[in-house]
């Protein structure tokens, strides 16, 4: 369906062959952009053009294209996921742009996220933080009846707000310090809110924060850029709750149990 409301765009896209290669912005031009296209579909169109010319298409990460898997990334005009409220890159639609616009597209940049190729980065540091305690140790088969743990609705709702994090790393990419406090805080906060999370709360906070710092994520100095760009609206209040958990744990938690 090619309707007459299509338009043309100029793009400046970061191209970098591999982790250690030099990268640079390259100019492209795309015609027939439909307002109903998603941003990634617009890049698909460009990639089809490149492949037809025998050129290497632009590498970028994506999978669900529904704003839930956290796989897509990209800095669009200097903003993670384009900077639209509660929106991932795959959910940015071209009706937000107009004929003749120039859009600059770069990868997420943070010292904890090395570039893999072009717009794709390595975010395995997020898993590494989770490995240090982003869970409740409930082995399969141990569970009691689901309704034997009553959780007041407001608490359940707040835990859900925190649990909505998709692990995309936009918070890290938009933070001047490259801090991962928002996604980590969201997980620590979710589990701290729930009764099931209590037994491991102290070591969870201590171990995750320690790992975060070792992996090259920066510190939080309250810029709140993360909250502004987070596609899931995760609030920095979760960082505050994490800090309380951390302090509480640092005072009350003993090394002996910690090394267990």
């Amino acid at each position: 369906m090619s309707s007459d409301n299509t338009f043309s765009l100029n793009l400046k896209i970061w191209r970098q062959k591999g982790a250690n290669a030099e990268g640079k912005l390259v100019d492209y031009h795309v015609d027939h952009v439909s307002p109903d296209m998603s941003f990634l579909e617009m890049i698909d169109v460009l990639n089809e053009q490149l492949v037809r010319k025998g050129e290497d298409p632009i590498a970028f990460d994506h999978d669900c294209r529904e704003g839930i898997c956290g796989m897509c990334s990209m800095m669009i005009d200097g903003k993670a996921h384009g900077g639209y409220k509660n929106t991932t890159t795959c959910q940015v639609h071209m009706r937000l742009y107009k004929n003749g616009d120039t859009i600059v597209v770069e990868p997420f940049r943070a010292s904890a996220f090395p570039i893999v190729k072009d717009l794709a980065v390595d975010r395995s540091a997020i898993d590494k933080v989770m490995i240090k305690g982003g869970y409740i140790s409930a082995n399969t088969g141990n569970a009691q009846d689901g309704n034997s743990i009553l959780i007041p609705k407001p608490i359940a709702d707040e835990a859900m707000d925190a649990a909505a994090c998709i692990g995309c790393g936009a918070c890290v990419a938009s933070c001047p310090n490259g801090s991962g406090m928002l996604f980590m805080g969201a997980k620590i906060s979710q589990l701290a809110l729930l009764p099931q999370g209590q037994p491991e709360a102290p070591q969870r906070a201590l171990n995750m924060v320690h790992e975060h710092d070792t992996l090259g994520f920066g510190n939080c100095t309250n810029h709140a850029e993360c909250e502004a760009t987070c596609p899931k609206g995760i609030s920095i209040e979760h960082i505050a709750r994490m800090n309380r958990e951390y302090i509480k744990a640092a005072f009350t938690y003993h090394e002996k149990t910690r090394s267990e």
Binding site: I68, D127, T140
Partner: protein
């Protein structure tokens, strides 16, 4: 080659089969478990829960996924909820009713013993997920909340806003991370399985491509669990994630794993309609919306008016009209077909006419906007982001889209395929949903398989099988690797003119038109011919730029499309051979006077099980007869 289709359903009363079977299964003693290595391919609900549980038991688990983290598997996108027979709302639910609804929903084409077990363990899943901190929706008293889904008259669906799949997957993922921290799971991200390695007839390893470096890697194990999801992307446009693929299952099929009911595809009634040929995927609007939304079209053909200008008496609320007892919650296959009939009658709406309305005006009037936004806020937002329309003000437009595949690799009661040691879990197997899956039952099945079934049955396999020591130095690994390398260089060597997506779209078009919501003999025959021709063209004219030695996304897509081009043909063939209508498989030649599916229990109450016989010979169709001992085969009615 003779294939063994013994389903191994345990004898005895339905209620006792699973506990009896567990008791009779062999166990591996705790000290010996660490001597076994198990490969788990896929980290969705099935793979994630299986990997975590097997590792907890003490096995060494090697876990693989395509994405950059196990947390991003396609399961994450499930919106609506997960079923369980808890009967918390006290509305008459029970294990038996969930069993009955699932068999009936599947149009009597699933195995009773498996489905009963699924219903039986459904309650443990909810308990397990709660204990892991999954923030399910709660009522004010702090109790778990439930809602209704299609094909059932009880409220048995547990949910976490519109992100149930995400929350369950993050639960399973957290269990995996716990076992990674204990060194019992080794995680291999950004890897794609390219082949299965069998030695002495048993599954003993896999070949994967490291998607970043392009290198092929070999891994050996004592058993392989395939949890790689469904193959809906054969249709190009579907609600599946972009990397969802058939390749892992298809390569196993070529190594001897029989493929069951490939033509059973679910077309989901409530998706955002197609709006352009650049479109890369379709977005589902959760079925839960049909709890409060009413589906309608104008009574007049080609009605140009805006929905708000069409008075009540000129609207056809067709699901309520045709299915008074289930109304808007009629099951998916039936609802999709009714939408298609409206389109065929010229009553479709919107710019392409391939759409019907899903209207919340009544519900908003009755319950208030706050309640509706509490229930579906994020779905409404998503709809608006994609279409630019505000569903609080104007009805949503929806249309059916490919969503789920009930077919998959054949497995017995132990979830073992026809290749010993190869177990298949989740959407990748064919086991529990017959010819149509009910909403909120895929998440249930994935987690049932991974948490509760496979850990028992895989242990039994390991305890009862002689497994000689195998390493990746075995020639079988070299052979499999060579075959993959050969295919790769063939793909890169074509250097033709058409892009991979070009071919994928062409295949999708054939599949949607001829192996979609309505099928007939002539269409299926021409589909088979069309796919063969397209496959030939693919190998002569595809353009895959670059080489295999780097992060080459076009190459990754090309290998998947090469397999879709083979599987698509088998789907059409299976649909041609199944001369009846059942569930999602609707053959126009076999329908009742009022356009409902007409089953043929005398000739087709069986699973069609396909054996691969080589690239130049036809596959062989075997049958697993379905015996209904506990439920009477009945005409499926939702009227």
């Amino acid at each position: 080659m003779a294939i063994n289709l013994d389903a191994k359903s345990p004898a005895g009363d339905l209620k006792d089969k699973w506990s009896k079977h567990k008791f009779e299964s062999k166990l591996v003693n705790p000290a010996n478990k660490r001597k076994f290595t198990v490969i788990v391919v896929g980290t969705g609900l099935a793979g994630g829960s299986a990997a975590a549980t097997l590792a907890e038991l003490g096995y060494n688990v090697l876990s693989f996924c395509i994405q950059d983290s196990p947390r991003r598997a396609h399961s994450i996108a499930a919106q609506g909820g997960i079923n369980a027979a808890k009967n918390y709302p006290n509305d008459g639910d029970s294990v038996k009713r969930l069993f009955y609804d699932t068999i009936k929903g599947g149009d009597y084409r699933a195995r009773e013993a498996n489905v009963y077990r699924l219903a039986e363990v459904s309650n443990n899943i909810i308990d397990q997920m709660v204990s892991q901190g999954v923030p399910f929706a709660r009522e004010y008293g702090g109790y778990l909340d439930n809602r209704s889904f299609g094909g059932s008259q009880v409220s048995r669906t547990f949910y976490a806003r519109g992100q149930t799949g995400q929350q369950l997957l993050l639960g399973a993922y957290s269990g995996m991370m716990k076992m990674v921290s204990k060194g019992k799971i080794k995680m291999y991200n950004r890897r794609e399985m390219m082949d299965l390695v069998t030695i002495n007839g048993k599954a003993r390893g896999i070949i994967v491509r490291n998607l970043i470096t392009g290198e092929l890697e070999k891994y050996a194990a004592d058993a392989v669990l395939l949890c790689t999801g469904g193959y809906g992307n054969v249709y190009f446009l579907s609600t599946n994630a972009m990397t969802s693929n058939a390749s892992a299952a298809w390569r196993c099929h070529k190594r001897g794993a029989a493929f069951a009911n490939p033509c059973f595809t679910q077309i989901h009634p409530t998706c955002i309609p197609v709006h352009g040929d650049y479109q890369s995927k379709l977005t589902l609007m959760s079925e839960s919306l049909r709890n409060d939304g009413r589906v309608w079209v104008p009574k007049k053909e080609n009605d140009p008016r805006k929905p708000a200008d069409i008075p009540e008496e000129e609207r056809d609320y067709y699901l309520e009209r045709v299915y008074p007892s289930f109304g808007n919650l009629a099951p998916r296959d039936v609802s999709s077909r009714q939408a298609k009939y409206r389109y065929d009658e010229g009553k479709g709406v919107g710019p392409t006419k391939q759409a019907v309305y899903l209207d919340f005006a009544d519900a908003i009037k009755r319950l208030g906007q706050d309640t509706i936004s509490g229930r579906y806020g994020n779905l409404f937002e998503m709809y608006e982001r994609i279409t630019g329309d505000n569903p609080y003000k104007t009805p949503m437009m929806i249309y059916p889209a490919v969503h789920y595949t009930m077919g998959g690799l054949w497995v017995d009661y132990n979830l073992q395929s026809t290749v010993p040691g190869l177990h298949v879990l989740g959407e990748a197997n064919f086991s529990d949903h017959g010819a149509n899956r009910l909403g909120a039952s895929a998440l249930m099945q994935g987690l049932a398989d991974g948490y509760f079934v496979a850990p028992n049955t895989v242990s039994h396999y390991l305890a009862s099988t002689t497994l000689e020591k195998v390493t990746t130095d075995d020639p079988a690994f070299k052979d499999a690797e060579q075959a993959v390398m050969l295919q790769t260089s063939k793909l890169l060597g074509v250097k033709g003119k058409r892009t991979v997506d070009d071919f994928h779209k062409a295949l999708g078009h054939i599949m949607w038109e001829k192996v979609g919501m309505a099928r007939n003999e002539a269409g299926l025959k021409s589909a088979i011919e069309g796919i063969r021709k397209l496959r030939e063209e693919f190998w002569q004219d595809v353009n895959v730029p670059g080489d295999a030695g780097h992060f080459n996304l076009e190459l990754h897509k090309a290998t998947r499309v090469a397999d879709f081009l083979e599987l698509g043909e088998l789907m059409a063939l299976d649909a041609l051979e199944r001369k009846e209508s059942c569930g999602g498989h609707f053959r126009e030649e076999y329908q009742t006077a009022d356009g409902e599916a007409k089953r043929d229990d005398e000739n087709f109450a069986h699973v069609a099980v396909w054996e691969y016989t080589g690239s130049n010979s036809s596959p062989i169709r075997h049958k697993e007869e379905l015996k209904f001992e506990y439920l009477q085969l009945a005409t499926r009615s939702y009227k």
